[in-house]
Symmetry: C2
Subunit: 144 residues, 2 copies
Amino acid sequence: MDKNSDTLKLENQLCFPLYACSKEIVRRYKPYLDKIDLTYTQYITMMVMWEVKQINVKELGEKLYLDSGTLTPLLKKLESKDYVKRERSKHDERNLIVTITEKGEALKSKAVDIPEKVSACMTLSEEKAQALYSVLYEILDSME
Amino acid sequence: MDKNSDTLKLENQLCFPLYACSKEIVRRYKPYLDKIDLTYTQYITMMVMWEVKQINVKELGEKLYLDSGTLTPLLKKLESKDYVKRERSKHDERNLIVTITEKGEALKSKAVDIPEKVSACMTLSEEKAQALYSVLYEILDSME
DNA sequence: TATTATTAAATTGTACACAATTTAATTTTA
DNA sequence: TAAAATTAAATTGTGTACAATTTAATAATA
């Protein structure tokens, strides 16, 4: 096969639809997230916080696939909104412990309807959604 | 079902693995793209240019799911590297026509091996890759 | 235990990404 | 055809992303 012919066409790439699809779906979140004054990245951070209540930056970054360069300013912003508290660990001052606040907990009830509203704006069968989900995690796991 | 229980868990979201997977794969491109001094966004832009040779910013944005706010500075950078030429349309001066240069054409041969190198670092069967590809475009199409 | 190595966040710098606004050109319409 | 509407890029402003470096704390080791 002629290497130059087709491999570099956008339509033959797997990464591109992944990249485009991710961005388009995140964009669908925006109108709903605007109402509760969160960006998408702040939203997924709060999803972790709603679940674990307390976590340090390193572990948070591993869950979200983000580093401190992204998380540090983001967490400062969430702190300024009083959704989380940031404090150094007493046992190991290198660690910064992030803890959800009452106000952060209360925000959850305003966010609970967002996932279904977003998925409503795209038609995808339950089987295909499940298949997509599995393949994505398979890829993520294979890249660790 | 209790609405508050599970819907807001990261692991139950479809958007999150999509977002994370997209970023991780783009990151895998970086070492190869660094060698030809392109960012990922510049690379997918050049992929379109290698294919169409000439296009205006609006159509380019539709193909790439990007707007002029992203494309204007990016195209200026590609122009400064002499990979593309930017000039207003004579028929309609609102349109900016982007044209690939000789140097831009020549860059293609250096990029042709990148897709296979990136896909080599993740294990995914041909069937699953094909299925993933189909579902992603199905979602993209359903969101137009 | 003093030195070295490692680790976790923060910082710095570059490059998107996109909503909203502005500017300029072209079309539409009153 | 003059005014209004539309269109395409560019600009502005905010918020990621992430590599690379720095800083400070802790752990390992000579």
